[in-house]
């Protein structure tokens, strides 16, 4: 009766034991699979995983190098670093930025300006670690924040090196400034293949020497090997390669000469370039108005930026290398030299100047009503006869003028070691062809050549170009590339690199022609348009005044300064070099809307030469120097 069930039971038991065996086999197989996987991970791929674990664990933390100093030729510091505390926010670690900043405002002083700058930085910088909300905290503020730190996760006090420009506005266009590395800067660094050296660096030169010598000033980033945990917190330092500071850059600039020149401008706009004719060393390079580069150091606040960028006086533009102006009568000595060299005039060539030059149906007026009477080449420079040069230009033709002026470097970048140099315009039929679109505009009309002769028309050069051409005259045709840096010093090794003068070209000019032009320019300062400015100078000098029209006058209309808006008044220019026999300095100055060259620019250049050659400080500066001790700055 129970037999089938019993048989079933035995069958079931048998089946059960079979299945135990199968299960055991499955278990062994599965564990063998795991073992194989472990062998694969821990033996076959061990090296790769070990490397990954190291990668996880070790973080390379860059140590930003100290930026090199910028000094003037006498060792006066123009850009330096100082250490200060900043209050920094890690945006990724802070949930509500506005609320955090509000709360911080109760602990340290936070101006609307600071907020605006922070917002600007936040918008500009991607994946930055931390951004400053306040810079230059006082000791008291540091202490106050430290006491309340627990309230502000994601906010930290950092000691940072800041760039400081102790002279403020002085030479601001030369020294330039640094600013936060923008995405565009970053791209350029990648292109240059130096991005790795900028890990840990937040700032980069944006203008002036700070920009053009960025790679000298920056230094070499050091590295610290740090063991970190999964949250990125440093546990301990494993190894350390110290950063190497950037090189010190010493300029050819004489900051006191620069100060004299800038002071001479006062509130007037303009530019001045002073070169050493025998080397091309830039002694002073002024662009007025200037700006305070310190504003840019921790990120400029939007209001100051708007003021600087929106000002009609364009303080950020470096007029000395990027401003283009008609040279006016300062062009005449070069025209005279061209005439002699090309055989179009001799020193004896003379004309009668009735006060105008007639070309076809047009009359070109001389700036002196009634003219200068009989005018030879010498007198044409000394009294600055327009009629003489109208006629000369007409006789020479545009091609000859353009060909000669190109050799003097006009209308071409000089290659000065600053970024943003402009080319200017050396007028020629080719230039006009390329410049304009419509065929009737592309054609060069002979009438257009006439005013080229007096430095008007399409003529447009930068002050540095005119300074270089003047220096070339002074150096008897040797043209040295203008340069601002005298030497570069490696602070660590003591290695010094002196920047040698670079001879751009040696103009093949007849000595007697050069002598003649120089003599005529000396006449300008002795008995001509520059005589009043240079009365009793105590040294020999050569010069030429210039007045550049900003505003086109209709024929027969009389220029009346009082009736013309200030910004439409003529520019006042002056070129000079001194001493006459062995020139040590060549200067070009332009005072925008300053009127006659003799009145604004010439006295300004006189002040500069007086200081450079005689050490004579203008009265106002002498008093200031006694108070502030600039004389004793070095």
């Amino acid at each position: 009766m129970h037999r089938p069930e019993l048989r079933n039971r035995e069958a079931e038991l048998h089946r059960f034991q079979m299945r135990i065996g199968i299960a055991g086999a499955v278990v062994l197989a599965a564990f063998a699979l795991l073992a194989a996987r472990l062998v694969h991970l821990q033996v076959v791929q061990h090296a790769s995983y070990a490397a990954k674990a190291e990668e996880n664990r070790i973080s390379i933390v860059p140590i930003a190098p100290n930026r090199g100093l910028i000094l003037d030729r006498n060792g006066v510091v123009l850009a330096r670093n100082y250490s200060a505390y900043t209050l920094e926010i890690f945006p990724q670690r802070v949930a509500d930025l506005e609320a955090t900043i509000d709360a911080l405002g109760e602990v340290v002083d936070i101006q609307p300006k600071d907020r605006a700058r922070f917002r600007k930085l936040l918008a500009e910088t991607r994946n930055a670690e931390s951004l400053p909300i306040r810079t230059r905290l006082s000791d008291e503020e540091v202490a106050r924040f430290a006491a309340q730190r627990f309230r502000f996760p994601g906010v930290e006090i950092k000691a940072r090196l800041f760039r400081q420009y102790p002279h403020g506005e002085l030479a601001s266009h030369v020294v330039g400034y640094i600013g936060r590395i923008s995405p565009k800067d970053r791209e350029r660094l990648v292109e240059l293949g130096v991005a790795a050296n900028y890990r840990g660096t937040d700032f980069i030169g944006k203008s002036g020497i700070e920009a053009s010598y960025q790679h000298e000033l920056h230094g070499t980033t050091g590295f610290e090997k740090v063991e970190i945990d999964a949250a990125g917190r440093g546990i301990r330092t494993l190894a350390r390669t110290p950063a190497q500071p950037g090189n010190n850059v010493t300029l050819t600039l004489d900051i006191r000469l620069q100060q004299v020149a800038e002071a001479a401008f006062g509130a007037r706009r303009g530019a001045l370039v002073a070169l050493e004719p025998a080397t091309g060393a830039v002694l002073a390079l002024v662009s007025r108005p200037g700006f305070d580069p310190n504003l840019f150091v921790d990120g400029i606040d939007p209001q100051s930026w708007a003021e600087l960028n929106g000002s009609p006086d364009r303080p950020l533009a470096n007029r000395a290398i990027a401003g283009i102006y008609p040279p006016g009568s300062t062009f005449k000595p070069f025209m005279a030299l061209a005439a002699l060299e090309l055989g179009k005039r001799t020193p004896k060539s003379a004309i009668f100047d009735p006060g105008y030059f007639v070309f076809g149906e047009r009359r070109f007026r001389d700036s002196r009503p009634g003219g200068h009477g009989y005018v030879d080449l010498y007198k044409s420079i000394v009294v600055s006869s327009d009629t003489f040069y109208y006629q000369l230009a007409n006789d020479m033709g545009i091609e000859a003028i353009a060909g000669f002026m190109a050799r003097l470097g006009l209308g071409a970048k000089t290659g000065i070691d600053l970024e943003g140099e402009a080319s200017g315009v050396l007028p020629s039929p080719e230039w006009k062809m390329a410049r304009f679109r419509r065929p009737e505009q592309q054609k060069w009309y002979p009438g257009e050549t006439i005013s080229i002769g007096i430095g008007q028309g399409y003529n447009a050069y930068t002050p540095i170009q005119l300074a270089l051409a003047t220096a070339a005259l002074a150096a008897n045709g040797e043209m040295y590339r203008p340069h601002l840096v005298a030497r570069i010093d490696n602070v660590r090794t003591g290695e010094r690199r002196v920047i040698e003068p670079v001879l751009l070209r040696r103009l093949a000019l007849r000595a007697e022609h050069l002598e003649f032009v120089k003599r005529a320019m000396a006449g300008v300062n002795r008995e001509g348009t520059g005589a009043r400015a240079f009365a009793g100078a105590g040294y020999s000098s050569a010069g030429k005044t210039g007045t550049a029209q900003v505003f086109g006058m209709k024929e027969g209309e009389k220029y009346d300064e009082r009736r013309i808006a200030e910004h439409l008044r003529d520019h006042s220019l002056f070129i000079a070099f001194a001493p006459l026999e062995e020139p040590r300095i060549a200067v070009m100055a332009i005072v925008e809307n300053g009127g006659f060259g003799a009145r604004a620019a010439a006295p300004l250049v006189r002040t500069v030469l007086d200081y450079y050659l005689l050490g004579k400080l203008p009265e106002a500066l002498r008093q200031a120097a006694e108070h502030e001790g600039l004389e004793g700055a070095d």
Binding site: F31, A35, H46
Partner: protein, 372 residues
């Protein structure tokens, strides 16, 4: 003289207590517990609280094991169905009133005690199924298997809904192993397998997003290195960087620098493998193999159908735990919440495992006592 008695008495008590405890099982689980404590010390370095809490868990677990070992299988069988029904009831209560932790409704808070009813079900289900088959010994038909499958499916569905995929898997596995050892036909098994494959797309649709992500990241953890793939990437790095000999105790960088998440619970094997290397890993696998084999040996010789099925199923439970956990840490199985038996930190799981050991010991002890 008196002192001689005094030293003798504790020994005798110990001998009395150890009576009926299977020596191999005791030795293997003790070795595993030791590995667990050593690794936990490293994984929770600097926070000794966890270690002492685990020691308390161990005390509770060992007591539970001892008690379970004293209960004869036929007594246990009487509690099987009530335990199952009670467990099912608690799962329902959890579904309705349970406490939500980490987005899943798993916990029941009784004020003095917080526990997961699903943990109870890991034991109650195989017990209930085993007693079900025990009663049908010799008269098994296909529909009995169908009924058993239904018994298993109910709690699995409830646990899966919490959602707790890992535990649902373990509960399902414990149910399935009973069916398997009870002798479900190969053809039926094959049919179920095919049906399962066919239902896979449907099951996929029922999964939560995070569960799907976990499965997908298994195939390419780098797709989401800081999200779902992070656990797997970091644990495989830990295991792989351990090499043959390991980095040494307390010297695992992945573990000590916080790169391994859940390193004292589900991912503790990563800590162990990093510090003790392939040698340690294989030794641990050998321990688990020994545990499972010993369990299956007990099952093979067990006296009743109930004892056989329960022993075999519980033995395979150890296997499932260890395999799923190590497979997950080694990056060949998806990330599911399954602890490494006797090693991972955690009281509930430890208690379950110790009770299972106790039941095996009881089956071993009573193998000849009951004759049918």
């Amino acid at each position: 003289m008196g002192s001689g008695l005094a030293t003798l008495a504790p020994r005798r008590i110990a001998a009395r207590l150890a009576e009926g405890l299977d020596r191999p099982l005791l030795a293997i689980s003790a070795a595993l517990v030791l590995v667990g404590l050593v690794t936990l010390y490293s994984a929770t370095h600097g926070t000794p609280v966890r270690l002492s809490a685990q020691l308390a868990n161990l005390a509770v677990g060992a007591t539970a094991m001892w008690i379970a070992a004293q209960i004869p299988p036929q007594t246990l069988m009487r509690f099987a169905f009530p335990a199952y029904v009670g467990g099912l009831g608690l799962l329902l209560v959890v579904a309705l009133f349970g406490e939500v932790v980490n987005g899943a409704r798993r916990w029941l808070d009784l004020g003095f005690l917080r526990f997961q009813p699903s943990e109870l079900m890991k034991l109650a289900l195989p017990l209930a199924l085993a007693s079900y088959f025990h009663r049908r010994e010799g008269t098994l038909r296909l529909r009995d298997f169908a009924a058993a499958a239904a018994i298993a499916a109910l709690p699995v569905a409830l646990v899966a809904r919490q959602p707790d995929l890992g535990t649902a898997l373990l509960v399902a596995a414990s149910g399935f192993t009973v069916l398997f050892f009870a002798g479900i036909g190969w053809k039926v098994l094959a049919g179920l397998g095919i049906a399962g494959l066919a239902a896979a797309p449907l099951a996929w649709g029922l999964l939560h997003d995070y569960q799907r992500r976990r499965i997908l990241t298994l195939f390419d953890p780098t797709q989401d290195p800081l999200g779902a793939g992070y656990h797997t990437i970091q644990s495989t790095i830990a295991v792989g960087s351990g090499g043959i000999g390991g980095k040494g105790w307390l010297r695992g960088t992945q573990a000590h620098l916080d790169f391994i998440p859940e390193r004292h619970t589900d991912f503790i094997f990563a800590v162990y493998a990093e510090e003790f290397g392939l040698v340690g890993s294989l030794a641990l696998l050998a321990l688990y193999t020994a545990l499972v084999v010993r369990g299956l040996m007990i099952a093979a010789k067990a006296a009743t159908v109930f004892a056989r099925l329960v022993s075999a199923s519980l033995s395979l439970m150890f296997f499932t735990y260890a395999f799923v956990n190590i497979g997950m840490v080694a990056g060949i199985l998806p990330v599911v919440g399954v602890p490494l038996p006797f090693v991972s930190y955690g009281g509930s799981a430890l208690a379950t495992l110790f009770v299972a050991i106790g039941i095996l010991m009881s089956a071993q002890r009573h193998r000849r006592l009951v004759q049918t």
